[in-house]
């Protein structure tokens, strides 16, 4: 019954949406403000990657929100899952119960630095090449994921993660605020734009993207670590209920 209703409704909605979207010509040039972005990101900001210019500068405010969403997600995760530090450390030995295969461990040793390097490269060159802080950060986080999978004993110091996370966030927001203190607007570029396609170009854009890269990497790693700790949930649950009773 529910399925039938759902199918009918969804079919109707989908058809309606399709009819509407079909009116939008495919592949047509319908740029308005985008034209301005394309023209001015190399000219005014000295940024080769127009998407980066938009993400970090023209619509940088969105990105600040975006970073906040990630930060929120990691905070929310922590708050929802109620992982407690002491339980975590007490139970970390449980992780060793299943050991990854030798191949993974050895490969990890070689690959993880490279992955991290790649990630760093991606976000440092965010204003020049495809990719940027988010992509680079995600790549770094996969490196840590690799570590977490390969070495069950590997734990991430949460203090560090928090520290990096916070510091990167403050850097982003702080750079924005510096704009105000310099008598300009929030997030406005206050550094020289430099020469197009130089590594040191684009004013504050690379700085922000680097901060974002660190932040995303730290946050994703933190999230991964949190989620992985669920795998040792069974024991944890018992202990938690024990401590709850004690409370």
């Amino acid at each position: 019954m529910k399925k039938a209703i759902a199918i009918i409704l969804l079919a109707f909605i989908a058809v309606e949406l399709f009819v509407v979207f079909y009116k939008i010509p495919f592949g047509a040039d319908r740029m308005n403000v985008a034209r301005f972005y394309l023209e001015n990101s190399p000219k005014k900001l000295g940024v080769a990657n127009a998407v980066t210019a938009i993400v970090v500068n023209f619509r940088g405010f969105d990105t600040l929100g975006e970073v906040t969403v990630l930060f929120l997600a990691s905070t929310a995760l922590g708050s929802i899952l109620f992982r407690r530090r002491e339980i975590h450390t007490r139970l970390s030995h449980l992780r060793t119960s299943v050991e990854a295969s030798v191949i993974v461990r050895i490969a990890g040793r070689f690959l993880v630095p490279l992955i991290i390097l790649l990630g760093a490269y991606v976000f440092i060159h965010g204003h020049l090449t495809p990719g940027g802080g988010f992509q680079g950060g995600v790549i770094i986080a996969t490196g840590f994921l690799f570590l977490l999978l390969a070495y069950r004993k590997f734990t991430i110091e949460h203090r560090t993660i928090t520290f990096v996370e916070s510091l990167a966030g403050i850097t982003f927001a702080g750079i924005g605020l510096i704009g105000i203190f310099l008598g300009k607007t929030f997030l406005e570029n206050f550094l020289p734009a430099g020469k197009l396609n130089d590594l040191l170009s684009g004013g504050i854009i690379p700085l922000i993207y680097i901060a974002i890269g660190f932040k995303v990497a730290a946050e994703l790693t933190g999230i991964l670590d949190t989620v992985l700790s669920i795998s040792i949930d069974v024991k944890q649950k018992e202990i938690e209920s024990q401590t709850e009773k004690n409370e």
């Binding site: 403000v33 619509r59 405010f61 906040t68 929310a76 708050s79 403050i170 406005e188």
Partner: protein
């Protein structure tokens, strides 16, 4: 039309400071544990002060404060619009934010980690709500809506012992629908106009293909309607209100729902030029009002009852705005203010009542007035205000609302609204009677509010009474706000004149 780049007072701080301190808070906590409580408080106080200063400036000069971000004027960059209308709502949120902080100052005193997360999420939900209100960019509004949403999910699921996760999951599910629809709507607009700035869209809205325009409107209306707790899109709301920690109910009522409502109003009043948008708002308002208030009549749990009541009030606000007359909009804004103040007071006091009753049932709170007279009195003041007895603030908003209806000669509607009001009276006074008359069912060691919560409640009650006795404290601001939201051209011109 002034782009103030004042270093101390600028609307950007409403968003930049909470985000900055949210990022900083974990580090501050490492330095000194109490910083996680004190620093947000200082920030909230500063922002509340700043909001008042800005609002007074806007009120006196008549010029909205519009800030461009990253140095790009709209429609290239994102702009923040602090005009008479958005400014007023932002100020309400800012003041309520400060009071919520004061109320929850000692929240989770022992559990440092949880307290940290609580204050962090509180700052972010605050920033998100204000962001939705003051941003001038549609996609940016979506981002802030998501910030509000995610922090709300997390806060809903904050308590472990309750069914918070269930409520949060429902909220998340429906909230995801909202974000999908909003995104689709934004996309449709973007394909037609190539811009995301609200003023720019409003200026060029007639260049859109009519069919696409309608569908975009429907998608955005549904999406924001979910956030505004419109019936029948509000299935998540009662659960979320009732399962979140006490002060967060107040946050939902005074901040997030206001943000959704604002988006809905901006959509119907400024962005699109549909005259039937008001009819839609009207019908949905009536449905929301009648269903929510009626269902509230049959609630057994106090916070759930408050939640339905809150939804009903939203319906009332939607009705008021749907008239599209000065008086109607005026009444609507007054109702928004009143709802924010009174519902916060009710949630503040009710959460202490509910906290002490094991199953949160209304019947469990009987005789609690004996144990916590001040809390009960605050609840009573809230009830009196929401019923609209003079000299409490609710009276004026109700009077203006009815005047707006009478202006259009909607006698049937007046009778309907007042009948619903009667239902409201019945269920609120039932609770009040339980609170005051029945004998307590057992021995309690009640958790009475600490000084900070007490202070927050008393302040709220004083504000409510002050507005009730002397409504001209706010009517000037509200009048200008009503003019501002109804005057589309001025909005567009002022955005493009910076």
């Amino acid at each position: 039309m002034v782009a103030t780049n004042h270093i101390l007072v600028t609307p950007i701080y409403f968003i930049a400071l909470p985000l900055f301190f949210a990022f900083l808070l974990p580090l501050l906590g490492k330095i000194y544990k109490s910083f996680i409580r004190i620093v947000p408080g200082l920030m909230f106080a500063y922002l509340a002060w700043m909001a008042v200063v800005l609002l007074l400036y806007v009120y006196k000069t008549g010029n909205p404060v519009i800030v461009k971000i990253a140095g790009w004027a709209p429609p290239i960059g994102i702009d923040l619009v602090f005009d008479q209308f958005t400014g007023f709502i932002a100020t309400v949120i800012a003041i309520l934010g400060f009071l919520v902080w004061m109320y929850s100052y000692l929240f989770k005193k022992v559990e440092f980690d949880n307290a940290l997360k609580y204050f962090l999420l509180l700052m972010l939900i605050y920033a998100g709500s204000i962001g939705v209100v003051i941003t001038g960019d549609l996609f940016n509004q979506f981002v802030f809506l998501e910030i509000t949403g995610i922090s709300a999910y997390a806060l809903t699921a904050f308590y472990r012992g309750r069914d918070g996760a269930e409520a949060a999951f429902k909220y998340l599910l429906i909230g995801s629908f909202a974000s999908t629809f909003v995104l689709l709507g934004i996309l449709l607009i973007y394909t037609q106009l190539g811009t995301l700035n609200m003023a720019d869209i409003a200026r060029n809205i007639d260049k859109m293909d009519p069919t696409i325009k309608v569908i975009a409107f429907i998608l955005l209306f549904t999406g924001f309607g979910i956030e505004a707790e419109m019936f029948p899109l509000n299935g998540w709301a009662p659960d979320a209100y009732s399962q979140s920690p006490g002060p967060i109910g107040a946050v939902f009522a005074s901040m997030t729902s206001k943000a959704g409502l604002y988006a809905l109003i901006r959509l119907s009043f400024t962005i699109f030029d549909f005259s039937s948008a008001n009819e839609l708002l009207f019908i949905m308002g009536i449905l929301t009002l009648v269903f929510a208030e009626g269902i509230a009549l049959r609630q057994e749990k106090i916070k759930r009852m408050l939640a339905y009541s809150s939804i009903g009030q939203i319906g009332l606000i939607m009705i008021a705005f749907s008239f599209n007359t000065y008086l109607g909009v005026f009444a609507g804004i007054f109702l928004m203010l009143n709802h924010a103040l009174v519902k916060s007071l009710l949630f503040f006091s009710a959460s202490f009542l509910a906290y002490n009753s094991p199953h949160k049932y209304i019947k469990d709170i009987q005789g609690f007035a004996r144990y916590m007279p001040v809390t009960a009195l605050m609840f009573g003041i809230g009830v009196f205000a929401i019923i609209g007895f003079p000299p409490f603030s609710g009276f004026w908003s109700k009077f203006y609302l009815l005047s707006a209806m009478a202006e259009k000669n909607f006698v049937i509607l007046i009778i309907l609204v007042l009948s619903v009001s009667l239902i409201e009276l019945v269920y609120y006074f039932r609770v009040l009677h339980k609170l005051y008359f029945a004998e307590p069912t057992g021995e309690y060691q009640p958790h009475t509010p600490r000084w900070n919560a007490m202070l927050a409640m008393v302040l709220l009650a004083l504000i409510i009474i002050a507005i009730g006795v002397y409504p001209d404290l706010v009517t000037g601001f509200i009048g200008k706000a009503a003019h501002a939201i109804m005057d589309k051209t001025t909005y567009i011109n002022s955005v493009f004149s910076i």
